[in-house]
């Protein structure tokens, strides 16, 4: 029997769910692998009481989100986090880099409660254990399919761990650091074939900080290349502002 899959969105722009619909060539193949019980973006139904795989997009920003995650963890045998928001806190976590309450007030007005139990934006892993990860902003649909099929087959999560420079070299890109421009590739989790650098933009770290990153050494590299060593830390804020709580 095909596993029952629920796709649940928290705080995000739903871009990763859109990416799944973007894979026209393979969408039917992928849908054929599962019994899609609930897809927040593409259906008007309600989250069912039972399903096997929870696919979570978005950061945790309210108590409702946290509750939904606990329920999903209890219900599903497998939890897959997709996208930067879910995995590192992503862009939503940027809100926590200064006085969060003050920022909230600027956007929504003082004393206005638009969400019950709002909290500092945080990754899914700060609330529940995550079994599989599809990092990136947005996700690469092909990677989503690979991870989903690994989950369905019961293979272990195989999220790449190493920094990005190696794959960037294979694309024969001229290094941004050598041109005196800040790039996060040297500390960012690989697996995206260095698409941004290949297209002429430095890496912004959307796949999260590599668990093998040598951050003190990377700061020294920045200094050596004539950049401010702390620029590295500032650049992290875009996608990795909640780096202290990423599990």
């Amino acid at each position: 029997m095909a596993p029952r899959v629920a796709i649940i969105g928290l705080a995000s722009d739903f871009g990763c769910q859109v990416q799944v619909t973007n894979m026209e060539d393979h969408l039917l193949d992928v849908l054929g692998l599962m019994d899609l019980s609930y897809w927040q973006l593409a259906s008007s139904g309600h989250l069912p009481d039972e399903y096997d795989v929870a696919v979570i997009e978005g950061a945790v920003t309210t108590a409702d989100h946290a509750e939904a995650l606990l329920k999903a963890r209890e219900t599903a045998a497998v939890v897959i986090a997709i996208g930067s928001c879910a995995i590192t806190g992503g862009i939503p976590a940027l809100a926590g880099t200064a006085d969060y309450d003050a920022r909230y007030g600027v956007v929504y007005g003082d004393g206005v409660a638009v969400a019950r139990g709002r909290q500092l934006p945080a990754p899914v892993s700060s609330v529940i254990e995550v079994d599989y990860h599809v990092p990136g902003c947005p996700i690469d649909p092909a990677e989503f399919v690979t991870v989903l099929s690994r989950a369905i087959m019961g293979l272990k999560d195989d999220m790449p761990r190493d920094p990005m420079c190696a794959i960037c070299k294979t694309q024969e890109n001229v290094c941004f650091l050598d041109r005196g421009r800040a790039c996060l590739g040297l500390v960012t989790r690989t697996g995206c074939t260095a698409k941004c650098v290949t297209l002429g933009r430095p890496c912004t770290g959307c796949r999260g900080i590599s668990p093998e990153a040598n951050i003190p050494a990377a700061r020294l590299v920045y200094a050596e290349k004539g950049l401010d060593p702390l620029e590295l830390d500032r650049l992290f804020d875009l996608y990795n502002a909640a780096r202290e709580v990423v599990v």
């Binding site: 690979t146 190696a166 650091l177």
Partner: protein, 340 residues
């Protein structure tokens, strides 16, 4: 060996002629640096290049290649053919030809690799003389000279090239595609002068006396920890190295899960998982140990097997390493006990 002389202004004819029967790969400019890429217009070929971002190994052992396709239902192999078009690699420097000879020891030896072999057999190599760059140190290993492994080697003599044909095929393509003449005594004298000047120009000094002994004596040196602190574990050094041959193999299923591909990708000994084995054991758990074993393999392990170090001094790692770790400063640090 046959020798011919080609007027410099006639050289584009060779590229044009070869293009009628081969895919011609040559150094071309990319964002202010150089890459080996297919060329059609001989005007794109840049024989004044210093070095390329990736070495020529990618044309024999690509960064990613499909080894076979398979069907899931019955585990049947559907396709493991190696297709290799006739190709000419044009404009290789001596270091890169020497590097291919070192790769051959691994890929065409006891466990010959059919994918590498097939491409190697289908590819002609045309070398060209070079001049020292800021980062190369080929003279340290004597790899700025190449005696075999090429079909034709072109030595730049100002207005003409002295063409050494190492293979019959090499002499044939010259005779077929470019106007050339036999060598005169004056050409030979000029050749002798040019190659001596060339060797004199390489003056990078690194003391490699009894290097394996030095490595053994310094096995527990704290300098490895210092390099470990600098290393980013990014693997850039291995990717750009013309003699790094380690790879990983993965099976990937197609989205319909009915068939899949077995893929080979370049790997790096600087990645933590490189030496991870079952049960979570890892023989190279620390950055320091990974940097150390990179050098032990290159300057000791390979040497003990093939009587050459696994380095040709091309200097690509020196350019690519964000942290500035390279064989020259590692060897110097071992000698002085100080990381510069």
């Amino acid at each position: 060996m046959f020798f011919r002389v080609i007027d410099k202004e006639r050289l584009p004819d060779l590229v044009t002629g070869l293009s009628t029967e081969y895919e011609v790969i040559a150094p071309v400019e990319k964002d202010g640096r150089f890459v080996y890429a297919p060329v059609v217009d001989p005007g794109d070929v840049r024989l004044d290049y210093d070095t390329t971002l990736l070495p020529p190994k990618k044309w024999f052992f690509p960064a990613e290649e499909t080894l076979m396709r398979f069907r899931v239902a019955d585990n049947e192999v559907l396709d493991d053919e190696v297709f290799a078009a006739p190709r000419v690699l044009f404009g290789l420097h001596p270091c890169d030809i020497n590097a291919l000879l070192l790769m051959d020891n691994v890929f065409t030896g006891r466990y010959a690799d059919p994918y590498y072999m097939r491409r190697r057999e289908q590819t002609l190599l045309i070398g060209v003389s070079c001049s020292p760059s800021d980062t190369c140190f080929c003279n340290v290993w004597d790899t700025n000279e190449v005696h075999w492994g090429f079909d034709v080697f072109l030595t730049d003599m100002g207005d003409r090239y002295f063409a050494s044909c190492r293979t019959v095929k090499g002499a044939e393509i010259l005779d077929r595609f470019v106007e050339n003449r036999t060598v005169t005594d004056e050409d030979t004298r000029e050749f002798q002068r040019v190659v001596h000047d060339f060797k004199d120009a390489f003056d990078r000094s690194v003391d490699t006396t009894q290097l394996p002994v030095l490595l053994d004596a310094k096995f527990d040196s704290p300098i490895w920890d210092e390099f470990g602190e600098k290393c980013l574990s990014c693997g850039a050094c291995s990717m750009v190295c013309p003699t790094c041959y380690c790879f990983d193999v993965h099976d990937r299923l197609e989205p319909d899960q009915k068939s899949g591909v077995r893929v080979r990708t370049w790997d790096s000994c600087q990645f933590k998982e490189f030496a991870a084995v079952a049960h979570g054991q890892n023989f190279r758990d620390t950055r320091a140990s990974r940097v150390k074993y990179r050098y032990y393999h290159k300057q000791w392990g390979y040497l003990s097997k093939f009587e050459r170090v696994l380095c040709v001094g091309c200097g690509r790692c020196a350019r690519a390493c964000p942290a500035g770790i390279n064989p020259v400063n590692v060897i110097e640090a071992l000698q002085t006990g100080e990381v510069r």
